[in-house]
C-alpha cells in the first residue's frame, strides 16, 4: 500500500531541516484557538481535525503551512457536519 502523505516516518528525503525559530503569527494563534474552542464546545474533536488534514490532496498537503492545514480541516469538517454551509467562508470573504 502506498504511504499516505501525512505518514512521514521514513519518507525518503534529503531536504534539510529548517531550524529557524518562528513566533506564531496572530492568525496562527487564532486558528489554534478556534479549533480548541470548537473542541471544548463539542463541535469537533481532535480525531476529526486529523481526518480533515489527512484527507487533503497530497499536493495541497505538502504546499500548505501547518495552520493552513488546520484551517482547511476545520472548514471541511464543519461543512460536512452542517455547521457551515458549503462555500460560506468564501462568501463572507467576498462580502
Amino acid at each position: 500500500m502506498e504511504q499516505a502523505v501525512h505518514d512521514r516516518g521514513g519518507w525518503p528525503t534529503d531536504a534539510p531541516i529548517d531550524r529557524h525559530e518562528h513566533e506564531l503569527a496572530d492568525w496562527e494563534l487564532l486558528t489554534d484557538a478556534i479549533v480548541d474552542a470548537l473542541e471544548r464546545s463539542g463541535a469537533m474533536n481532535v480525531d476529526e481535525l486529523r481526518r480533515g488534514i489527512e484527507s487533503m490532496s497530497p499536493t495541497e498537503y505538502e504546499r500548505a503551512s501547518y495552520y493552513e492545514r488546520w484551517l482547511y480541516s476545520a472548514e471541511s469538517i464543519l461543512t460536512e457536519k452542517g455547521v457551515l454551509a458549503p462555500g460560506e467562508v468564501d462568501r463572507r470573504l467576498a462580502g
Binding site: G9, R19, L24, L29, L30, A33, A37, E62, A74, V83
Partner: protein, 210 residues
C-alpha cells in the same frame, strides 16, 4: 444584520499576513455568530497558548535531578507529577517522561502530525512540525542529531519515540557535570526546550559568569 455592522472592532492586521489570516478571521466571525464558539473562549485560549513555556517542563526536570523519589513519580506518571508541582499537564490522557542516561538517548518526533506536550513546553518549534524532521528523525536519527550539533558516542543507544494525540513525551535530559552544588531553580535554567525534545543536551552549567 450584515457582517459589516457587527459589534466588534477589527484589530489591525500585519502587513505581511497570508490570505489564510483573513480566512481564519472570517471563520471565527461566522462561528461566533452561529454560537458554535464563544469569542471570550477564543481570546482565553490565545492568552493560554502564549503563556505556556519550556520553563514549566524545565521545573519538572530540575526537580527530578535533585529529588530521586520525584523522578520515579515523574517516570511512572508525568501527568500526576506535573499536577503535584502545580503545573497544567494539558489535555492528553498520557504524558510520558523518558530519562536520558549515558547508555540511552531518547528523541521525540510526531511522524503523523505534530503532537507535543504544549502545556508543559509551549507551542512546538516549526522544525518539529516540518516534513524533513518528521521523515528523517525516524530513518536517520543520528544524522538529524548531528544537524542540531549533537554527536553521541557509537555505544549510546538512540531510541526514537513517535508521539500520538493520546501519548506525548517529555525527555529528561542528563544533568550536566559540574552542577553538583546548584539549587533546583538554578538547574531549571539549564534545561532547554530542545533538550526536552532530545535534540540537544541540557546546559552548559555557566553560560554567564558574573
Amino acid at each position: 444584520m450584515s457582517h459589516h455592522d457587527h459589534d466588534h472592532s477589527h484589530e489591525p492586521v500585519a502587513a505581511d499576513e497570508p490570505p489564510a489570516g483573513a480566512r481564519a478571521r472570517a471563520l471565527e466571525e461566522l462561528l461566533v455568530e452561529k454560537g458554535a464558539i464563544d469569542r471570550d473562549d477564543v481570546r482565553h485560549r490565545i492568552d493560554w497558548l502564549v503563556s505556556r513555556s519550556p520553563a514549566d517542563g524545565a521545573r519538572l526536570v530540575a526537580r527530578a535531578w535533585v529529588d530521586p523519589a520525584f523522578k520515579e513519580r515523574l517516570l511512572v506518571d508525568a501527568r500526576a507529577a506535573a499536577l503535584e508541582v502545580g503545573l497544567d499537564p494539558g489535555p492528553s490522557p498520557l504524558v510520558v517522561a523518558l530519562e536520558n542516561t549515558d547508555a540511552v538517548h531518547h528523541v521525540v518526533v510526531c511522524t503523523l502530525c505534530s503532537c507535543y506536550p504544549k502545556a508543559l513546553l509551549g507551542p512546538p518549534p516549526d522544525w518539529y512540525k516540518s516534513l524533513p524532521y518528521r521523515s528523517r528523525a525516524v530513518s536517520d536519527p543520528r544524522g538529524v542529531l548531528g544537524e542540531f550539533g549533537l554527536t553521541l558516542d557509537e555505544d549510546v543507544e538512540v531510541r526514537v519515540v513517535d508521539s500520538t494525540a493520546d501519548i506525548r513525551y517529555l525527555v529528561i535530559p542528563r544533568r550536566p557535570g559540574g552542577t553538583e552544588g546548584m539549587r533546583e531553580e538554578e538547574l531549571a535554567a539549564l534545561v532547554t526546550r530542545d533538550s526536552m525534545i532530545g535534540v540537544s543536551r541540557a546546559g552548559p552549567p555557566l553560560l554567564f559568569k558574573s
